[in-house]
């Protein structure tokens, strides 16, 4: 095979050589001396090709817009996602108009003003009024885009915990190449952690001396979140940078070792409803990793199930029995002096 490849390359080169020779010979026969000179015929052909390209290019784009429309992400499944999509579409309309007009002018001018020896180009070096016009118009467009964008940005980036908004708190921990989630339990407070405490079953390094951690429980592979309640994800990484990417909710934030980051959104469509909307009974919301993190970066995921609130409560009550640290009696919770040492975790 390698021999065949070489042969193919060699044949290609030889063919090209012949093409050149043929061009040279044929023009020598015609008595043309300088083949590189651009002739009227060339200008006509190339100008026409630009016109054809213009048409073909726009058709190609239009075809993609139609053919690929259904391949894009389905309707946004969070409140924030809907707002982002709205602004995204708004901006797309603006840039699409610019894209079409300017590309049209470019290729159309290329066709229209192709060389003609009977014409002289217009000596037109400057027009300040025009220049001001096309400084001001993009300026205005940018101003609108900036204002709308920043308004949304500051709302997306607000900290609902600081603001005292109602939320459910989940910690997402990234590592090569999987996600783990820690739910905050009944107190909705996550216990402290320290990477040096990572050992055995306590694979998130949760600090068992922090009472907040006693009701925390962890999950891998699949998590549930309730529809209609703000979900606050506290993000961290055990090893290198990852990025928690929830495409269906239009949400993303990096997970950085040594740093605390967060994201939050309000799910609005349950997994079941989305299955109906997408007419795909196997549809799942997925959390992906979107920062290069090594060999299995392309396969680092977690299923996210959005369910109605009552189903969520049922599920939650079941899962929360599985706390990280097994305390025998609720009494333990009330006597902080008694130390739930990390050893207790070893037994599972």
């Amino acid at each position: 095979m390698s021999f065949l490849t070489l042969l193919a390359i060699a044949l290609g080169v030889i063919t090209l050589g012949y093409i050149v020779r043929i061009f040279e010979l044929s023009s020598e026969l015609k008595g043309e001396q300088q083949n590189w000179v651009i002739r009227d015929k060339d200008n006509k052909t190339q100008g026409t090709l630009f016109l054809l390209f213009l048409i073909g290019f726009f058709l190609f784009v239009a075809w993609q817009l139609v053919a690929y429309k259904d391949r894009l992400l389905p309707v946004a499944a969070s409140e924030e996602g809907v707002e982002i999509d709205w602004l995204m579409n708004f901006n797309f309309i603006i840039i699409f108009i610019v894209f079409v007009i300017v590309n049209f002018l470019l290729f159309y001018f290329a066709f229209k003003y192709r060389f003609d020896s009977n014409r002289k180009a217009l000596y037109y070096p400057v027009n300040h009024r025009l220049e001001i016009l096309w400084t001001v118009i993009p300026g205005i467009a940018m101003a609108i885009i900036i204002v709308l964008g920043l308004k949304l940005w500051s709302s997306l980036q607000r900290d609902p915990v600081e603001n005292g908004e109602e939320h459910i708190k989940i910690e997402l921990v990234a590592e090569q190449f999987r996600w783990s989630a820690r739910y905050a339990g009944d107190d909705n407070e996550l216990g402290n952690f320290n990477y040096r405490l990572i050992a055995g079953a306590n694979n998130l390094g949760v600090d068992s001396t922090d009472a907040n951690s006693w009701d925390d429980f962890t999950l891998a592979n699949e998590i549930y979140i309730p529809k209609g309640k703000r979900v606050y994800f506290s993000l961290r990484s055990k090893d290198i940078i990852h990025s928690a990417y929830f495409p269906h909710f239009r949400m993303q934030m990096n997970c950085v070792p040594g740093l605390h980051t967060m994201l939050h959104f309000m799910p609005t469509i349950t997994t079941d409803s989305m299955r109906m909307i997408t007419k795909n009974e196997n549809f799942e919301y997925i959390l992906l990793c979107n920062k290069i993190c090594g060999a299995s970066h392309f396969n680092m995921k977690m299923v996210v199930k959005v369910v109605e609130m009552d189903e969520f409560t049922k599920w939650y009550d079941e899962k929360k029995k599985n706390t990280i640290f097994k305390m025998d009696a609720p009494a333990a919770m009330e006597t902080p002096k008694m130390e739930p040492v990390a050893d207790t975790t070893k037994k599972d």
Binding site: M1, S2, I9, G12, L16, Q34, N35, W36, I38, D42, N43, Q46, F60, Q64, R71, L72, G81, L87, N103, L106, F109, A110, Y113, F115, A121, L122, Y123, Y124, P125, V126, N127, W134, T135, P138, I146, G149, L152, W153, L156, Y195, G205, D239, I240, R250, Q252, M253, V256, P257, G258, H260, T261, F283, E284, L288, N290, C293, G294, H297, F298, K301
Partner: protein, 602 residues
């Protein structure tokens, strides 16, 4: 300019009888024309390597799991067993592809070739300010290229953390095999590369500022030179920051410091690093990284200004606005780097500042695009192959530029950050524009580089296949990105949600292969024309600038006898009242004739 004494000195240096051996003439040459060709040929070789890599991973992405003898042949049994590349190798190839394309082809190659060739020629200097530093600049570039290529053959694989080499991934060999020896070589290579870029950049700046010939005022500089000057300033101000960033990374990797590392548990072990921040590296990287995209782009835009004006037989529209917008872009490019970091948990207010500054750049960019188009308007367009490439460049500059508005808007960046939407954006606006500009430069200035002409029909063929397949490759990638596919994924098959993208990926890969094969046409034309091309004439494109006034030969010192004197701006094409449709810069103004376009009333 007080160039008179200078001329004198040079005449002595260059026309005195010192022995030139083959080695000093073609290898360790201090002549800008030779160095320029050395840069070009090295860049062509690096470009072929970078392109072959992209073909390899496009095979993987288009037909994942398919066995390709070609892949096995290229990668061997270890990385391409049975013709399927390994995930580690995929990341290695993506990383080196990005590094080679951005730095070696479009920074070293593009500026190295054309700043070197055109600065002395177009400002009317005998050579660069320092021929010796110029020679060093090339040889640092050469060594760094060799090291980068050698790193591909390391047993643990080349650097694989992406061209942005974010730590901790790039700092810890436990995290990815490529962060072993491969990463060390990458850092060594890039450090040498930066030295080369700095030596070259200083030289370019000093030459433009000090060695302009008599009459060549700043406002008579061709836009190419303005572009090269601003590019060089950007490089000199920003590359040292990357060098600093790389040095700290070297310390973290080798000497146990914790600049970028903290709280890491990996490979079943808690590491001792404490107190560093991985985000610090990103700040240092992008402080270079963003100006870098203009370092790549501006020379291409500058050459396009020149080539479009020449072949429209019309002055460039808005010379001052073109210079002003390049200065504005250059300045702004230093205060926008945070737009690569919106999702690192940066303070949302800081993010807002970066949104503002970034979207400001859209304004001078729009001015440039409109000015190109107005230059075409009512022109008399001569379609040389170079002109075709420039028109292609303006198109990709627009098409890729507008999607930047989405990415710069932090709220909208959230769902598309690091997806194929970004890959589409930066390839079109930076990769394609700059590559098309570089091709344009090669076709246009080939007569100055090699004293021969490139073949015209092959040039046309090369342009059309390249341009069509370029859009064929990168336009559909927008949709792949909007479907949520992250970049740097080895395959999309692990997610049912991406199953309906298979045919788009195939389409992209088919175009990529066609595009790659089309570069064979260029390579053939290029090397064939170096040796067998038709002899050039002195001023084949009827341009006005100085490089077309010194015959069809490579003269040591660039001009026999005295240096040319400049009397007018470089864009007197189709000036009313002139017999020919171009007036050389060396032609004195007629009595009462006004120089430059500023005061012209049509």
């Amino acid at each position: 300019m007080s160039d008179h004494s200078h001329d004198h000195q040079h005449d002595h240096d260059h026309h005195g009888h010192h022995e030139e051996t083959w080695v000093t003439k073609y290898v360790f040459s201090m002549d800008h024309k030779v160095i320029s060709r050395q840069f070009l040929i090295t860049a062509v070789i690096m470009g072929v390597v970078g392109m072959l890599m992209s073909t390899l991973f496009r095979l993987q992405l288009g037909w994942p799991g398919e066995k390709f003898a070609f892949v096995n042949w290229m990668l061997g049994d270890h990385w391409g067993k049975d013709g399927i590349m390994s995930p580690d190798m995929y990341l290695g190839l993506v990383t080196i592809h990005g590094t080679i394309m951005v730095f070696f082809v479009l920074t070293g190659g593009l500026s190295g070739t054309f700043s070197n060739l055109l600065i002395p020629y177009q400002v009317g200097a005998r050579d660069m300010a320092s021929g010796f530093l110029n020679m060093l600049s090339y040889w640092f570039f050469f060594i760094s290229s060799v090291i980068m290529l050698v790193s591909l053959f390391v047993a643990s694989g080349p650097a694989s953390a992406g061209w942005t080499i974010y730590p901790p991934l790039s700092a810890l060999p436990q995290a990815i095999p490529g962060s072993g020896l491969g990463m060390t070589l990458w850092l060594v290579s890039m450090s040498l590369f930066i030295v080369s870029a700095l030596l070259g950049g200083l030289n370019y700046i000093i030459t433009v500022l000090n060695l302009r010939t008599k009459g060549m005022t700043m406002s008579r500089l061709p836009l190419t030179i303005w572009a090269f000057l601003i590019t060089a300033i950007l490089g000199v101000l920003s590359f040292p920051v990357l060098l600093g960033g790389c040095l700290l990374l070297i310390f973290d990797r080798g000497f146990g410091t914790s600049f970028y590392l903290s709280d890491i548990y990996i490979g079943g072990q808690a590491l001792d690093y404490q107190g560093g921040s991985p985000i610090l590296f990103q700040h240092l990287f992008w402080f270079l990284g963003h100006p870098e995209v203009y370092i790549v782009l501006l020379p291409a835009l500058g050459m396009a200004s020149e080539i479009i004006s020449v072949n429209s037989r019309k002055p460039i529209f808005g010379y001052k606005a073109m210079v002003g917008s390049m200065l504005a872009i250059g300045f702004l490019s230093f205060i926008v780097w945070g737009h690569h970091m919106f999702l690192t948990g940066m303070n949302p207010f800081l993010g807002s500042v970066f949104v503002f500054t970034t979207l400001l750049i859209a304004i001078p960019s729009a001015v440039k695009a409109f000015n190109y188009i107005t230059t075409l308007w009512k022109g008399n367009l001569v379609f040389t192959p170079a002109m075709l490439f420039c028109i292609g460049l303006v198109s990709t500059f627009i098409t890729g530029g507008v999607t930047g508005i989405i990415l710069a808007d932090s709220a909208l960046d959230i769902p598309v950050h690091d997806t194929y939407f970004v890959v589409a954006h930066f390839h079109i606006v930076m990769g394609l524009s700059a590559i098309l500009g570089m091709f344009a430069g090669v076709y246009h200035w080939f007569p100055k580089l090699f004293l021969r002409m490139m073949n015209k029909p092959l040039g046309y063929l090369h342009f059309w296949i390249t341009f069509v397949s370029a859009y064929g490759v990168f336009f559909p990638m927008h949709f792949i990105g909007l479907a949520g596919v992250p970049r740097r994924y080895y395959t999309n098959t692990e997610f049912p949600m991406f199953d309906n993208l298979v045919d788009i990926n195939e389409l992209v890969s088919v175009f990529a292969i066609i595009g790659a094969i089309a570069q064979g046409i260029f390579l053939f034309n290029f090397f064939y024309s170096i040796f067998r091309g038709e002899r050039a004439t002195e001023n084949p494109w009827n341009s006005t600038t100085l490089e077309w006034t010194n015959g069809v030969e490579h003269i040591h010192g660039n001009w026999h006898g005295a240096l040319p004197e400049v009397h007018r701006w470089p864009y007197d094409y189709s000036k009313p009242g002139k017999e020919k449709d171009f007036v050389m810069q060396t032609v004195p103004l007629e009595p009462g004739e006004i120089d430059g376009g500023e005061h012209h009333r049509p």
